[in-house]
């Protein structure tokens, strides 16, 4: 509601004042509390959801209750998020966190570039996504190769590395968890794979 009208010239403002002048309407009998006072902003007002060019179904990213949400978007940006009135889980409602989902997606503190900290550095530096991915892949390989244990001295197979760990998953999609477990455990032999289930 804090939208500022653009600066306008004197003539324009005079014309607008004349247009919006309530006194003639009052003289015609309109109520000073109601119609006579109504201004252009009220005549043209619509909910901004109607500006959406895409509405998508989503699930609240906070707790595990699984409240359904509708995300309204325009030009590839969210314009609002609210409870899906169809859902038997939340019946359109949201808690304070869920109601802040739009604020989460558009938080001023949000990061959109890859940052890298060189050992011993006192600040981040920006790096490209591609560089980061390459560097991480090489670090994974190096650490894995240095720490992989194929079997115990008695021949019991281990096929694991204790040198790399992974934390997290409870905030991620099932499909993402599947890829993490499959690659980290099934592909690389990591056993320190944990998420928030114990936290």
């Amino acid at each position: 509601m804090s939208r500022q009208p653009p600066r306008r010239g004197l003539a324009e403002r005079a014309a607008e004042f004349a247009r919006e002048w309530s006194v003639p309407r009052q003289l015609r009998g309109a109520d000073h509390r109601r119609e006579a006072a109504e201004a252009a902003i009220s005549r043209t007002l619509r909910p901004r959801l109607e500006e959406a060019d895409r509405v998508g179904t989503s699930i609240c990213p906070y707790c595990a209750v699984g409240c359904a949400q509708l995300i309204y978007a325009r030009d590839g940006r969210p314009i609002h998020v609210e409870g899906d009135p169809r859902s038997p889980v939340n019946q359109g409602t949201l808690c304070p966190k869920g109601a802040a989902t739009f604020g989460l997606m558009t938080s001023p503190m949000r990061l959109d570039r890859c940052l890298h900290r060189v050992p011993g550095a006192t600040a981040w530096r920006e790096v490209t996504l591609d560089w980061a991915m390459d560097r991480i892949a090489h670090l994974v390989r190096r650490t894995r190769d240095e720490t992989f244990v194929k079997d115990l001295p008695d021949g019991t197979p281990l096929n694991h590395t204790l040198g790399i760990a992974s934390m997290g998953g409870a905030t991620l999609d099932n499909e993402e968890n599947y890829l993490i477990k499959k690659l980290f455990s099934g592909g690389l032999g990591m056993v320190f794979v944990e998420n928030q289930a114990r936290v």
Partner: protein
Amino acid sequence: MEGGLAHRRALDYADRDPRGPIPQEAEITTGRRVEPGRAYGFFTDTTLCIGCKACEVACKEWNQLPADHLGLTGHSYDNTGHLGAHTWRHVTFNEKIGKDGRRATTMPPYQSHWLMMSDVCKHCDPAPCLEACPTGALFRTEFESVVVQQDICNGCGYCVPACPFGVVELSVEDGKAHKCTLCYDRLKGGLEPACAKSCPTDSIRFGPVEELLEGAKARVARLHAQGQPAAYLYGAPGTPRATGGIGRLNAFFLLIERPEAYNLPPAPSRPAPRALPSILSGLAAVAGLAAAALLIGVGRR
């Protein structure tokens, strides 16, 4: 099994993505359509309030109001403090569990011993702020709500002291008066106001005031029967000492303690009628002095 059942109309939108807002979504979320010409409002039932502040967040996110960051107040869990230009829903917290160094042991049904209430603009009828507004920026909409039209308001600030509830405030950002609009834009689109829609426990109910009132009275009777004899309505027409000179509050409340415990004035009054006796005594004084001036012979050398 009856939990989570959907409104019949929700089934029209089952298994397909809505292309835009569902027409008259309010019918699905409240059972009532939103149509101009009827009085709509809120019935805030504090006995159902869990103090989650979803209403505050939903309001700010929808109306794109900036955060205030008051800091830790130490006033129970109320770090919002008061309604204002950027805060159109405010949940009050008042701890009552301790009594004379002991802790209460019996629990009446629903909310007790920690009072939580989602405060909001009362959309009074008649509305002191509206009556005070010299520009017509404040007006009564086709939904009987009271709205500040931002293209008109010039920040004179007269509505601020006019309000008996301390609701309206001038924004430090644009200098204009701001307060709850009952989500005027949403009502125009058939949507339930953001706070009421999000409310997890339906402590905030939105609907036609007459119907809300009926439900509220039944609720009070039920609470009395269930062992909460203190329940009463605040701001409903005809309830004793609730509305003073104000006919009714389109946003009214169910409380279980004195209004002061929720920071509500016990019997708010309409300020406008004070103007006439005031001006008459003033004019009498001036007239008297003018007469005296005549007698004194002001003007003569």
